[in-house]
């Protein structure tokens, strides 16, 4: 019997405690937490009150380290394809054309002063596939591939999630390819060591059919 | 094992010696049914050669007061294509009695091979064995609930075998992405 009454008593008191807590929060609702970022010294200053942020208007700032949208600075990209190999989800597609000797100046140098040796007709990042692990960024030798802290980049059409960073149009790429072929043909005749290098273009067309929707990037580029 | 990573380089760390002591007891009892002890520093193990003795060994390991391997941390299926075998690896240890831990390997034929089920010894083996069956296709004799667990029941093939070829369609849905 005493257990019966003590049950009722603890029930009543704990319910009252709980209700006091919620009521305190109810009256604290006049205060708001604000959208201070975590690197702000005042971050933990306001401990009571509403903590909702109305997202598009207010947002907690993404830290600069934030690992969200992949961005490639194509001017600095040397076409080493390390990111493509490192990517666990294969969201980066790269096609390279070796730069012929007379084009080296046209191809230019990276901001670090390194000579670029590849044209990049295709450098596509499917950010819809990207899982923002940051492995590609860690292997990039010129730090041209970075995750930007832009977290909100939704699209209505999933095809728009494929970002094209290639620095040649399709027609230019064809021309460069032909040029390379010609140079190679010329060299093949000349030297025996050129034979080893001559295998490179033979291997190159093999991965080419893989990015089958090739006309699509072109139309997108045309649209731009 | 105070800090496994750092001591891993030593010849025979204390943890491996403990496992060896436990192994010696099993070896003494079952003789040629178990293989020699592999005293590698990362995961000391022995193999059950006579597969039919596996349940007896398991029961002995669980119940013998010197062993008391009452906790099966993990049971993993493994594919050994070179030896044309499938196998399981059990990581065992003792909670509340001893500090030793050991791994046991049991292997069977790759095609239609079977391993006795130890789900009656360690209940946890029930789902682990179902998973191993699901992924590798070895059967577990005496398993109370021998079904696939992660893949759908009508899935063809065993996905984690090294020679696994994914089916083209599943109920009209194209499988390879």
């Amino acid at each position: 019997m005493s257990e019966y009454f003590s049950n009722i008593k603890t029930g009543a008191t704990t319910i009252a405690t709980g209700m006091a807590i919620t009521l305190r929060h109810f009256f604290n609702a006049v205060k708001r937490k604000g959208d201070a970022g975590i690197d702000d010294p005042d971050y933990f200053k306001q401990v009571d009150g509403l903590c909702t942020l109305q997202y598009p208007k207010e947002a907690v700032p993404t830290p600069t380290i934030g690992r969200y949208r992949l961005y490639n600075d194509i001017d600095d990209c040397i076409g080493c394809c390390q990111c493509e190999r490192a990517c666990p989800v294969e969201c980066i597609t790269i096609e390279t054309i070796k730069v012929t000797n007379d084009d080296l100046a046209a191809c230019g140098k990276t901001s670090g002063g390194q000579q670029k040796r590849f044209w990049l007709p295709v450098f596509d990042i499917d950010v819809a596939k990207c899982m923002t692990c940051g492995i590609c960024v860690s292997v990039c030798p010129t730090d041209c591939l970075v995750h930007s802290p832009v977290a909100d980049f939704s699209e209505f059409d999933v095809r728009n999630m494929v970002y094209h960073y290639g620095n040649l149009t399709r027609i230019e790429a064809e021309a460069k390819k032909r040029k390379l072929q010609e140079e190679k043909a010329a060299k093949e005749k000349a030297a025996a060591e050129a034979a080893a290098r001559g295998e490179a273009p033979a291997a190159k067309p093999a991965p080419k059919p893989k990015p089958a929707p090739a006309p699509k990037p072109e139309s997108d580029q045309a649209g731009e | 094992m105070d800090n496994g990573m750092e001591e891993a380089g030593n010849i025979m760390p204390a943890a491996v010696q403990e496992s060896k002591a436990a192994y010696d007891i099993i070896k003494e009892r079952f003789g040629s049914a178990v293989s020699e002890f592999d005293a590698n520093p990362t995961m000391p193990f022995f193999e059950v050669v006579d597969t039919s003795k596996w349940v007896d060994i398991a029961l002995f390991m669980r119940d013998d007061s010197r062993l008391k391997f009452n906790y099966m941390a993990c049971l993993s299926g493994v594919d050994y294509p070179e030896q044309n075998q499938l196998g399981i690896v059990c990581n065992l240890e003792s909670i509340g009695h001893h500090t030793h831990r050991i791994a046991v390997k049991v292997k069977c034929q790759r095609d239609g091979g079977s391993i006795p089920s130890v789900s009656c010894v360690w209940h946890t083996a029930n789902w682990h064995e179902r998973e191993a069956y699901d992924m590798y296709g070895m059967t577990f004799d005496g398993h109370p609930d021998h079904r696939r667990i992660l893949c759908p029941e009508d899935w063809t093939g065993y996905p984690l075998r090294k020679d696994y070829q994914v089916q083209e369609t599943y109920h009209g849905i194209k499988v390879p992405y």
């Binding site: 019966y4 009722i8 319910i15 709980g18 209700m19 807590i21 919620t22 009521l23 929060h25 109810f26 604290n28 609702a29 009150g49 509403l50 903590c51 909702t52 109305q54 | -």
Partner: protein, 359 residues
Amino acid sequence: MSQSPSLNTWSEALSGFYIGWLPLGLLIVAAIPLVFIALYALTYGVYGERKISAFMQDRLGPMEVGPWGLLQTLADILKLLQKEDIVPTVADKFLFVIGPVIMFVGSFMAFAVLPFGPAFIGADLNVGLFYAIGIVAFEVVGILASGWGSNNKWALYGAIRSVAQIVSYEIPASIALLCGAMMAGSLSMQQFSVMQAGPYGFIHYYLFSNPIAWLPFIIYLISSLAETNRAPFDIPEAESELVAGFFTEYSGMKFAMFFLAEYGSMFMVSAILSIVFLGGWASPLPNVGGLALNDLTSGPAWGAFWIIMKGFFFIFVQMWLRWTLPRLRVDQLMYLCWKVLTPFSFIAFVLTAVWEIYK
């Protein structure tokens, strides 16, 4: 029944209003509670609950539609109206359709005996309280019909639980109200308020003038939560257990009907609680010295204000409880009803009787 000359004057005048053979006045009398339920459910019921729960949980609540999200409920209604009205093929169509209607009618009909101020009452029955108790139980039929008619296992569970719950909680609730009836010596809803009105305001309320009244007051407060399926007694619609309980299969306006019925009966039980124990439309402010606060805040319009405010206060308490407490289990619910509330309501009954005889 009428004692004070102003009692029920508005509603009687209205009901005598005819255009030809059409009793337009009576229709208006009936329509007023309907409009009230709709408006209050829209504003305080849904919007208020969302805001109150939000503030208790450190959230903002609806903010997008209109200033401070004031038009959110209208947007929701619009959405519900546009939704496809699905009737499952295997459902019992008649029961499925009639269920929400019965529920809504049940909660709406009880408004007939709620006095909105001294001058307005739908029907001043001399068994008003009895009628109100009876009509609340009518909702059970609607719940059972919709739960069974849905032909869904979760809905069936919800319906069965609900019936067991509401029928059980009728007993402590009725006995608690009976204590009030003993104090007033009447079952008429107007009479309760008349008895508790006076120059000293809240001192005349039974809750404060009667030393025992707090016990039936609390008992009725608890059992009214159970009767309206509000947390912590919301096991018929227990979201985490039964998905949505008896209205799992409902969509569109039928779903909205359940909501209206829920908020309707929430106000109804709150109003009954405030009428029986807190003086209904009687002003709580006392005449202090020369300051005739009570007289100033009495009258038909003030009466309507007071009863609605008292009702709203108890609705706030209901929401407050809902957003604080976990849910009881079925057997614990029955334990609370039969082993705690019912014995205590009998004790309260006896004590009230003793007090009424010897006071």
